[in-house]
Each structure stands twice: as C-alpha cells, then as structure tokens.
C-alpha cells in the first residue's frame, strides 16, 4: 500500500490522472470565501433586486422574503430573537456572512433552475434580501468589494464547537 502510494506521488500521472487546465478550473470553481475571494465581478442593488426577486424567488419565498407558513422558511426577520424562547433563524437573524448568500444563491437558486442567474442578478438578489432585513439601504450597491464588508447582525454569534459539552455521570 505504502509502496503504491509512493509510486503515485513520485510518478504524478502514473495512475492515469491528468493535469487540470486553467480553463476547466475557472469554469468549475464556484467557491466563495468570507473574505470575498472567489466572488465574480458584477453589481446590483435592492431596487433591481426587488423585481428579480418577484419574478424568480417569490413563488417560494414570498414577495418580501417572509416565506410561506409551514412550507418555505422566511429569509427575513427574527433579528434579536436568537436568545429568546422562540428563536427565528433567517438569513437576516442567523447567517454570519453575506458572502454565504451569494455563494448559495449562485450555486443552488432558483431551486428548479440553479445557476440560471447572472452575477449581476445574484448581487441584486443579495442586496434585496439584505435590504429587506434592514442591513443595507435600498440603493446601496453590492459587488465583489462591498458584499464581504457587510457586517451581518449575527457575525459574532458563532462560537467554536465545545464538545464534549454534556458530561453525564453513572
């Protein structure tokens, strides 16, 4: 086993794998980091985002991101509720990074047509969701520079896992 692994390491393509090209990496790389690394060029604000949202997102998330009771969770509201007896986890109240909104919308939304939105569309959708949550203004432009600078209300709410946190005794 070790010898075989050594052969893989020494011979590079001894087992057939090929070198990836710059072009195919660029085509497939969708990773976005909280620093903004990986965000594409583009821009949008909540004014444009409102129309886009109504057309592409509201069928599930409702016109103002309030969701649909018992069917689709809300994207809006709940800020300040996390330490109460009835916490409401939404993009606005719970998500720590605005870059995650871009990443998720770009890779997975709209649910039935993922990756059909342009970069400008995704920035617009992000701006509208952030605006609905009162985190940015309606005309504030979101782009690859400004989006990572948005401080989400729950940015500092995530702490490292403390396992084992529950210590049972015999």
């Amino acid at each position: 086993m070790l010898r075989l692994v050594a052969i893989v390491l020494l011979c590079g393509t001894a087992f057939g794998q090929r070198n990836a090209t710059e072009a195919e990496i660029k085509a497939k790389d969708l990773t976005v980091l909280p620093t903004g690394a990986g965000l594409p060029a583009g821009h949008g604000n909540a004014v444009g985002g409102k129309d886009l949202f109504k057309e592409k997102c509201a069928v599930c998330h409702n016109d103002h991101g309030e969701g649909r009771e018992g069917q689709y969770v809300a994207l809006v509201g709940g800020i300040g509720s996390l330490k109460t007896g009835k916490p409401v986890r939404t993009v606005g109240s719970y998500w720590p990074y605005a870059t995650t909104i871009f990443d998720y919308v770009r890779r997975a939304m709209p649910y039935d047509h993922p990756r059909s939105l342009s970069a400008d569309d995704v920035y617009s959708a992000c701006a509208y969701i952030l605006f609905l949550n009162g985190i940015i203004t309606e005309t504030q432009e979101m782009n690859e520079k400004t989006l990572p600078q948005v401080k989400m209300p729950n940015r500092d709410g995530f702490v490292p896992d403390a396992r084992p946190d529950v210590k049972s005794k015999r």
Partner: protein, 395 residues
C-alpha cells in the same frame, strides 16, 4: 394434466420474477424458481424506509428501519437518505473529480483513475446531524425508525482522500478543503485538512457494489464519525483553501443554537449513542411474560464502543450488555442482553460508553446544556415504554 398446467403456469410466473404470496409455502415438492441475474428478498419481507413527505420531494429524507434489521450492515436499499436537490442521474463513465486550489499540480481523476489507485474497504456508520432532532425538541418518536433512523452503516470501498491530495502536492498554506457534489444545488462543505489527510475515503463501493445513486453514485466522500452532511455525495470537486468557505450547510444548517443565543459551529463528530431496536416502539411482546433478548446498536464518532448498559426499571439499575464482535471504530456495534419480562409495565433504555470514556447522556442532560432549539447532534438516551399488554411505544 390440469395440475401439470397449473404447475407450469406457476413455474413461468416465478421465472418471470413474479413470485406471488400464494406461491410461498411452508415446504414444497414443486420445482422452485430458476436462477436470476439480480436477486431480491422474499416477497413476504416488507421492511422499508420511512419516506418523509415534503413540498419539494428533492429535499426530503427517508429513515432506515433499524427495528427490522440484524447485524451491523445496513442493506444498501435501506440506507437512509437526505438530499438537498434530489438524486442526480450521473454517468460514471463521464464523471471526473477536480482537485485544485492550494496545490502544486491541479489534477483531474476519472472513475477509471480512482479504480487504479490503491484501495481500502472500511465499515463506517453515517448518521445525519438531524437524527433524533425531534427527541431533543421534546417530541419523542414512537419507533426506532422514526426516532433514530437517520443512521446507517455500510462497508465502503475507495481511495483515501490523502492519496489524491498528496498526488496534487499540497501547499503548506492549504488548511481546509471545500468538497462539492454534482447534484443540482452543488452542495458543498468545508473540511479541515487534518481530517482530510487522516481517514477520509473517496468511496465508489458500498457493501460490495457500486455506491447507490441515492448514496452518491458514482463516488462520494465518507468522513468517518462526522455528521452525515459532510460526507459529500456525487463528489466532483475538491478545492484546497486556507479557510472554511462558510457554506449554507455549515452556517444556516447543521449549527447548534444555544440558549444564550450563540451558535456552535463546526460540530463535526457524532458523539456516542445507542438505541434498543428489539423490543422497541411499535413492536409487541405477543408471547406474554417470559425471556426476551434485548438487542440494539451503539456507535461513536470518536472511535470504538467500549460498553453498553441496559436498564429495564426506569434507570434505577443498569446491567452490562454483551457486545457482539466485530467492535470497529466509527461503525455500529451490536449489543444484546437476555431479559425476563414479568408481564408488568416496564421501561427499556440503553446507554453506551466509547473508548474515550464518554458516557451517552440523557435527553434531559442535553437539554440542560443546549436547550431545546439546537436541532442537531442529539445523542440522548431513548426510552421505550412496555405496557402490561406487551405493546411498546415511546416513554
């Protein structure tokens, strides 16, 4: 003559794979069904996954019928499912895995390339982080499938992820990987490089066959002992990065909200847990008072199960159960204990200890620390209530 025709009809029916219930007998002098290319269980056997309805079926889940299974391997057909945008239909002959980012040489592996690499087979459980979430929220479920069925255990075959990463020659600043699936939502999770280089498998085999489509065909990650969601299915991209991506499924989902309003992130390990599967909720002690064998499963994301204790008297006294070999790290372990049922109402519960000395807590102990809104990573003790008529449900 008539009998011969009937037999012939029955023979043809069986040959066509149409074995019917009327064809099943205690014993027979009739010639049985001929060979067939791909086997199936007796038509009398009905154990099935519990399908959860969802307004978007592609985001739904199914649960393994733990109470109907023996041994430690979950039949592939009964492995639990949880998808985020359905089961993609992927052609393994065209599938590739891209390894890129903080590496000296970005590489592309086809399935043929993976098959040529040194392979390993390991038995590991996979448990959804949301398993038993209802129990934690104070809504105990009526049977083992509903309470604990987002757990399955398979023999996985594949290539250590470290082999792929080392072939691409990691740069020292590479501290995390982002693993991405090829399903419609391209579900992605970040994994620390230490784990990625330790025991993570790039698995193409499940219980001796190619991984099932709903388990990630043609290839998935198996991340031993860690929450199910991070075992990325339909794996097609591994991106070496210097920090976690903070994807939706490691922020919005699979994080535990504590009573003080903070949320715990990167809770990867599924802590030690056990459940009695027989006798358990939904079953009935139809033979009346007498000896029954209590059986169940125990597992820990931190290694091997060291001990399982069973109580039949509301937790007042505990008796060590026998552990059945093999006892493997990050796999389920079978336990058993004979029990004399008096015919009176009783409660049945198990608690396990893993090789680190960690003792499985009660639901109350979990709630005292984590409250009732943390949703995920519930490993509390499951208690079954036996009534005088022998019927069993949750306590």
């Amino acid at each position: 003559m008539k009998e011969i025709r009937q037999n012939r009809r029955r023979f043809l029916a069986l040959g066509a794979g149409l074995a019917t219930l009327s064809a099943c007998k205690k014993e027979t002098s009739e010639i049985g069904a001929p060979v067939r290319a791909y086997g199936d269980r007796s038509p009398l056997e009905k154990a099935a996954r519990d399908v959860r309805e969802s307004i978007t079926p592609g985001t739904s889940s199914t649960r393994t019928p733990l109470q109907d299974l023996d041994g430690i391997i979950t039949p592939s057909s009964l492995h639990f499912e949880r998808h985020h945008s359905g089961v993609p239909n992927i052609d393994g002959a065209k599938h590739e895995i891209l390894v890129h980012g903080l590496v000296e040489q970005p590489l592309v592996f086809t399935m043929d390339d993976l098959q040529r690499l040194p392979s390993v087979s390991r038995i590991y459980f996979i448990e959804c982080a949301g398993n038993s979430g209802a129990e934690l929220a104070g809504n105990p479920q009526a049977d083992a499938q509903k309470s604990t069925g987002l757990l399955s255990c398979s023999e996985w075959t594949g290539v250590p992820l470290s082999t792929l990463l080392k072939a691409a020659r990691l740069k020292p600043e590479g501290k995390w990987i982002v693993a991405e699936g090829a399903d419609a939502c391209l579900m992605a999770r970040s994994i620390p490089i230490e784990k990625a280089l330790d025991d993570v498998l790039v698995a193409y085999g499940q219980n001796g066959e190619p991984v099932r489509p709903e388990q990630g065909y043609p290839v998935r990650l198996v991340v031993p002992g860690w929450e199910g969601n991070i075992n990325v299915k339909w794996l097609h991209r591994i991106h070496v990065v210097d920090q976690p991506s903070m994807t939706r499924d490691e922020t919005s989902h699979y994080t535990d909200l504590m009573p003080d309003g903070t949320a715990q992130k990167f809770t990867f390990v599924m802590e030690a847990k056990s459940v009695i599967t027989r006798p358990s909720g939904g079953q009935k002690l139809t033979a009346g008072p007498g000896v029954y064998e209590i059986r169940g499963l125990a597992w820990s994301g931190r290694g091997k199960i060291q001990r399982v204790e069973v109580s039949t008297d509301n937790g007042q006294t505990w008796t060590d159960a026998e552990l059945q070999s093999p006892i493997l790290p990050m796999a389920v372990t079978r336990f058993r204990l004979p029990w004399q049922w008096s015919g009176k109402a009783a409660t049945l519960q198990s608690r396990c200890t893993d090789e680190t000395g960690y003792l499985q807590p009660t639901i109350d102990e979990l709630q005292a620390v984590r409250g009732t809104h943390s949703q995920y990573h519930c490993n509390g003790i499951k208690v079954w209530s036996v009534k005088e008529d022998g019927s069993i449900s949750h306590a």
